[in-house]
């Protein structure tokens, strides 16, 4: 955190900018008004923003060379200094020092004869030493493509700017999310089902149903969550859509999936007949509420399995996160607005327009919680 905060003074920013060719927003010159959350988001074509939630100001705007158009998944290192970014059309992982904007890690997944895409899924071990990346390889022969089997590839985070995997092991197709367990021994991979793999050996430790879930009278569910947002609770949540079969026809329902990374507890519970699409959700610090976002902002009573409140938004937002103290909801993704909403009333408190108004598209909105 101290490194990030060092950007609060204009001289520091100017000095770094001069030496490293960074961009500094004028807002970064303001001193940090109060301790609080910092938000991290990306925007087209190559911007990584660090935002002070308390003052609604951009604290750092880093130009990410090699982003090549868009920043997809953002994973924060356990020490909260490095943001690992999936970029370059999903073919490159970059580690960016959040304070300086300096590139400290680079793994180019593809080679001249093999195109490797990572569909959003990557995770970092709790000790910060290893990145596990989901890889979808295609062999590029002169006149045809050969589809190869997916794999999990493990990179050492200290491998520098030409990182190569230190080991890899087979993975199922169609994985779109990975979540490291806090003991660092295994991680979850989310795809057709919920898989758990041993970090060291790649052994499949278990499979639990997503498509084969066990909710009575429900159709096959649909889940496509690809942002590994588990802060601040260590619990991952996602909307899940299915139809419940009734005698007079099928009724579309929205459920909340909840996965506790520490305990492994997994649950699904319908909370409303589908009335508004929800793109992503986050769990409140007290775990009593989940907040969902798309064209509306939704509050869900997690224990009561019911819709608490819903308000329309100014436009589409894909990404949602929550303040460390649970009092505010942060929304981002799509367009250049980062919104600050009251967690109780769901009323809008502020909108921060990102410099240059570049589109966040499918960048993860992460929160670094002040400690």
């Amino acid at each position: 955190m101290s490194l990030v905060r060092s950007l609060g003074a204009r001289p520091a920013c100017v000095a770094i900018a001069l030496s490293l060719g960074l961009l500094c927003n004028a807002a970064a010159a303001r001193p940090l008004a109060a301790a609080g959350d910092l938000l991290v988001t990306g925007a087209k074509p190559d911007r990584l923003f660090v935002i002070d939630a308390a003052t609604r100001t951009v604290r750092a705007e880093h130009r990410v060379a090699g982003a090549n158009g868009q920043i997809f998944t953002i994973v924060i290192s356990p020490d909260q200094r490095i943001a690992y970014l999936l970029v370059d059309r999903m073919e490159r992982i970059l580690g960016i020092d959040l304070a300086s904007g300096r590139e400290v890690f680079r793994a180019d997944l593809s080679a001249s004869d093999e195109r490797v895409k990572d569909f959003f899924a990557l995770t970092v071990t709790p000790d910060g030493r290893e990145l596990v990346v989901y890889e979808l390889p295609t062999q590029l022969k002169p006149s045809e493509y050969i589809v190869e089997e997916p794999r999990f590839a493990v990179y050492r985070t200290d491998a520098g700017l030409a990182a190569k995997p230190v080991r890899s092991y087979p993975a199922p197709r169609r994985v779109h999310l990975m979540l490291m367990r806090p003991n660092g021994l295994s991680f979850y991979a989310v795809g057709f089902d919920l898989y758990e793999y041993d970090v060291k050996t790649g052994k499949l430790l278990g499979t639990r149903g997503i498509q084969k879930w066990a909710l009575a009278d429900h159709s096959q569910p649909d889940l496509l969550a690809f942002w590994p947002v588990t802060e601040p609770t260590g619990v991952f949540t996602s909307p899940v859509y299915s139809e419940i079969k009734k005698s007079d026809g099928n009724v579309p329902m929205t459920a909340l999936m909840s996965l506790n990374l520490k305990s492994g507890a997994l649950s699904y519970a319908d909370f409303e007949p589908l009335s508004a699409l929800i793109f992503s959700t986050v769990l409140s610090p007290d775990k009593k509420h989940a907040y969902g976002v798309y064209t509306t902002l939704t509050s869900i009573d997690v224990e009561g399995h019911r819709l608490e409140k819903r308000v329309p938004l100014d436009h589409t937002f894909y990404a949602v996160n929550v303040a460390s103290d649970g009092r505010e909801i942060y929304i981002g993704g799509a367009n250049c607005d980062v919104g600050f909403y009251d967690a109780s009333s769901l009323e809008k408190r502020a909108i921060l327009k990102l410099p240059g108004c570049s589109d966040q598209t499918l960048s993860t909105l992460r929160v670094i919680h002040d400690r």
Partner: protein, 527 residues
């Protein structure tokens, strides 16, 4: 690809005109050149195999399909070809690895860029696997054996990672299906080898030079007719010179330069009046009829039917304008066709209870003032002129208006992507005493919209989505977030189309359905 693709394709079509011929000696020379160029530029990656080039020699496609292939080779693999080289290769491949007329018939609407056409039905499996992104016409316009279809599936995975994750992909083991049973099925439905193609390749080439009679439709506007003089150039391509008139009598001229691929695929770039047009026509097997669709060079949704027959052909009425007359009315009727009888004494009849006066005869057109008796029985009349027969309907009242198309899509636009309009017509029918409905053709109508359902009413789609012009063409609103709408929504809409056609003191209402939706960002020649 987006609009650039269309412009590139247009460029290709235009540049192809400078290339070489495809008939007899010229054709042989062009093929030799095209084959050599293909080997020179493609064999670096597509190696020689069993007398052909890997992949390339295992596929048959339409001219547009091969153009798209070469555009993709440029965009994805950096293949840089000069225009003439590219055009020669396309011509060679379309001629030697094209589709027979019977094979392209089902998907012609896609080549002709017909808006709101009903897609071909290839069954639910292929409908989901391919149809969730492409028209199924695009699938039906390719020929490959199972192994080559399987390689195409691999290309999709390597090129578009999200294919396994997007809707109707993630709900199934997509790759297992796409690499397993699906290619076998496609290979049996659309195999590389076919009797139709072998027979087509064996047929004699047709020379389209000569004089032709033409009729063109203009949905929502004035249909036209006239003559075309088609000349074959030394290289085997064609120039056409049009002398045309619309049904109101306004005369205009045009010229077209065209290539005929595969022996029947006429692709012309025309300047008609002040409009740049594209012509996607098919030549009949006997070489005596050319049919298809013309459309605006920049707005493919705006266009109409085209039919041309040789002047030397048998007696035939191509068109009767208008298609119907009200009992008790007098109107100018125009017949267009062959063998209508140019001599003053030639027989001419518009059927029972009609009288024709002020008859003007030309070689391929008769214009007459036709009076229908007030007590004329409603029904179908046979029009006879010389040895040609046509049809005309006499009616007393309009009983039904069908909005055509009954369901249409328009797209908001602006900036990089132009809006896509939707043209409607009010097609009238009368009910005969026996209860039978008889079509009267298009009639003028007043065009309005209303909300299609309660949700469209709540979101005020009618207010935001666009408006009609007087000719039944819906003009969508500009694209982009609209802060005045809920969620800053785009100017999309779900609308009921209302056509009110006057019929004496009354009006008759017809209804259709219009969805105004977002831009199509990828606009290749075949969707």
């Amino acid at each position: 690809m987006s609009i650039g693709f269309v412009k590139n394709w247009t460029l290709v079509a235009g540049a192809l005109l400078l290339g070489m011929g495809c008939h007899s000696t010229a054709q042989a020379a062009a093929h030799a050149s095209g084959e050599n160029l293909m080997r020179a530029y493609c064999s670096g990656c597509h190696q020689e195999h069993a007398g052909g080039l890997e992949r390339i020699s295992a596929i048959r496609k339409t001219p547009e399909g091969w153009i798209m292939t070469l555009v993709r080779m440029r965009q994805v693999h950096g293949l840089v070809l000069g225009e003439e080289v590219r055009d020669s290769i396309v011509r060679y491949l379309a001629d030697t690895q094209g589709l027979a007329p019977a094979e392209s018939a089902a998907g012609r609407f896609a080549l002709e860029r017909r808006p709101n056409a009903k897609d071909v039905d290839l069954g639910p499996d292929i409908g989901v696997m391919c149809g969730r992104c492409h028209s199924l016409a695009r699938v039906s316009l390719q020929r490959r054996d199972a192994d080559e279809w399987r390689k195409l599936a691999a290309t999709h995975v390597g090129q578009w990672t999200s294919i396994e994750y997007s809707a109707s992909g993630r709900d199934r083991p997509w790759w297992q299906i796409a690499s397993g049973p699906q290619p076998d099925k496609l290979g049996s439905m659309f195999p590389f080898s076919s009797t139709a193609w072998r027979d087509w390749q064996a047929r004699p080439a047709r020379d389209l030079s000569g004089a032709w009679v033409v009729v063109g439709r203009v949905p929502g506007g004035k249909d036209f007719y006239g003559t075309a003089r088609i000349d074959r150039e030394a290289g085997g391509d064609y120039q056409a010179h049009y002398k045309l008139a619309d049904i109101a009598g306004f005369e205009f001229a045009g010229d077209s330069k065209a290539i005929v691929y595969t022996g029947y695929e006429w692709r012309g770039s025309a300047q008609v009046g002040d409009r740049a047009l594209r012509e996607v026509y098919a030549v009949s097997e006997d070489g005596n009829r050319i049919t298809g669709r013309w459309f605006d060079a920049d707005h493919a949704e705006e266009g109409g039917e085209w039919i041309a027959i040789r002047e030397t052909g048998p007696a035939e009425v191509l068109a009767v304008f208008p298609q119907s007359l009200r009992a008790g009315s007098t109107a100018t009727v125009t017949l267009v066709g062959n063998g209508l009888g140019a001599a003053a004494a030639s027989p001419l009849s518009f059927g029972a209870a009609t009288v024709a006066t002020h008859v003007q005869r030309e070689a391929h057109r008769i214009r007459a003032l036709v009076k229908v008796a007030p007590d004329a029985a409603p029904g179908l009349r046979t029009v006879s002129a010389g040895g040609a027969l046509g049809r005309l309907v006499v009616y007393t009242q309009i009983d039904q208006i069908d909005v055509v198309p009954g369901y249409a899509i328009a797209r908001v636009g602006g900036g990089r992507i132009d809006p896509v309009t939707a043209q409607f017509e009010a097609i009238a029918s009368t009910r005969l005493p026996g209860g039978e409905l008889l079509g009267l053709g298009p009639v003028e109508a007043e065009w309005t919209t209303s909300a299609f359902d309660a949700e469209a009413k709540r979101t005020e789609d009618e207010k935001f989505a666009g408006h009609f012009d007087k000719r039944g063409r819906f003009l969508p609103s500009p694209a982009g977030p609209n802060p005045a709408r809920e969620f800053s929504g785009d100017n999309v809409g779900n609308l009921t189309v209302l056509a009110h056609a006057p019929d004496g003191k009354h009006t008759v209402e017809g209804r259709g359905h219009l969805v105004v939706t977002v831009q199509r960002w990828i606009t290749p020649p075949i969707y």
